[in-house]
Amino acid sequence: MCLGIPGQVVEFVDPEHHIAKADVSGVRRNVNVGLLSEGSEAVDVGDWVLIHVGFAMSKIDEQEATATRQFLETLGEPYEEELAELKGSQIE
């Protein structure tokens, strides 16, 4: 729950409700991007974001996303669990 996991926004699914599809280590799930909808923080397709419990919380660059993912992979179990939980998610 506390891990921020990096994902790339691949498409907007439901713009009215700020729902976009993100790719996290190959897992594609819907997330809410409503917190990143203003000014320079507004996300677009192709952008990288840090996701907490199904919500994109901050925009990051690709290098940062890669580094964060590498770090999370070194954590082992906590990241695997987070990914498994994300897999079970069906946000609409």
């Binding site: 506390c2 203003e38 840090l50 919380m57 990051i60 580094a67 906590p78 946000i91």
Partner: protein, 387 residues
């Protein structure tokens, strides 16, 4: 500073460690608190302490949301979950937390409909699909998860989903830091501030630590090099007599935080007069509840709750651990009666809890050593002195 290329390089870590060592005043003992459980986890996992000079002690703080929920609230959660009409949804971290009569998992085994979800929006979906049931979401966490709960609530209202409610237990980090600063048990020299919480609240809320308590703060990321650099920033301030709030994690944390997230919280929630934290006792204005206009979605309004204050298990010293007064292994039942498989206290439940982190990466470092390997950063191999 970027660690992308240097990330796997132990040389960089050692260089920072050397610079830190160069800032130590002979004969002085430094206590630096890392507030966030994510930092605690990274520190144990990667043996960050082993790179520090012996004069610097990292003290683990209260920033693990699973750890700080008091027993009485967990009992309340189970009381809600056991109502026949309720589908009780929760993050996976909470289901093993021991309450007065077992955990949520035990309640599930007795027949309660307890479901683990990844996101509060998953809980909302369950409510949509089960109009004849009441779906309650166990909302916990610091400012990292609070905005998600807020947005989920706004969506429930917008869609007119009435069979959905929140059992709100969101806590705020600043009053807990203040309580620790006011506690007579502990003398701290500086703080490693939480990274992800700060993406929401920004840097301003920490200023009182520098201004009123004359202590340096470095908001830091979660990689071992981030934590090391955070320690370096704190030590540099101490060496030059400065007390400021610095941002090590500029690649993610903005000075002003996330205004959209703060607005969503303010729109849906307000501060409670007081809230009990496990081990820390009641702290005024340290948690959030739903505003009156959202009473229809408030599980505390909807259901009669026991609301009884329950003392922590006698054997458990989570309180002292959360305040950084004792190290996990100084607890008498650490690793014997209390293990991650059979936790007595919350600090042993979450992988971010100091007891679990220490148990997983300290005591059994040799077994886990290989997984823990990060080139150049030796995995921690430290046996608890008392075991």
């Amino acid at each position: 500073m970027r660690f992308v290329d240097e990330f796997r390089s132990g040389d960089v870590a050692r260089q920072i460690a050397e610079r830190i060592a160069g800032l130590v005043e002979p004969g002085r003992h430094y206590k630096v608190m890392e507030v966030c459980g994510g930092h605690t986890h990274a520190i144990y996992k990667h043996g960050v302490e082993d790179l520090l000079p012996p004069e610097i002690e990292l003290v683990h703080g209260p920033g693990c949301p699973v750890c700080v929920i008091p027993m009485g609230r967990q009992d309340d959660a189970i009381a809600i979950a056991e109502r026949p009409e309720v589908i009780f949804t929760t993050f996976g971290d909470m289901v093993r937390v021991p309450a007065s009569h077992g955990s949520l998992l035990d309640a599930k085994a007795r027949g309660a409909d307890v479901r683990m979800v990844y996101s509060p929006l998953d809980a909302l979906k369950i409510a949509r699909e089960n109009p004849d049931r009441q779906v309650v979401f166990f909302a916990i966490g610091f400012e990292t998860t609070t905005p998600s709960t807020a947005l989920t609530l706004l969506r429930a209202r917008a869609e007119g989903i009435r069979n959905f409610s929140l059992f709100a237990n969101h806590v705020t980090i600043i009053p807990a830091i203040r309580a620790i600063l006011d506690s007579p048990d502990l003398r701290l020299d500086g703080f490693i501030g939480p990274g992800h919480v700060s993406t929401v609240i920004g840097l301003r809320p920490y200023r009182f630590i520098a201004r009123d308590y004359d202590k340096p703060v470095a908001v830091s990321g979660f990689e071992p090099l981030d934590v090391l650099q955070g320690v370096y920033m704190v030590m540099r301030q101490l060496a030059s007599g400065r007390n400021e709030v610095e941002n090590q994690y500029t690649r993610v944390v903005r000075e002003e935080g996330n205004p959209r997230a703060l607005r969503a919280i303010a729109e849906t929630m307000e501060l409670r007069t007081s809230f009990e934290w496990r081990g820390l006792g009641f702290i005024s204005q340290s948690a959030l509840k739903l505003r009156d206009e959202f009473a229809d979605w408030d599980a505390e309004v909807r259901y009669e709750l026991p609301g009884v204050r329950v003392a922590d298990p006698k054997a458990c010293q989570c309180g002292e651990v959360l305040k950084g007064v004792i190290k996990p292994w100084e607890c008498k039942v650490f690793g014997t009666a209390c293990t991650p498989d059979r936790p007595i206290g919350t600090c042993m439940v979450s992988s971010e809890g100091a007891c679990a982190a220490y148990y997983n990466y300290g005591r059994f470092a040799r077994r886990r050593g290989r997984e823990a390997e990060i080139a150049g950063l030796e995995p921690v191999v430290r046996e608890p002195a008392s075991a």
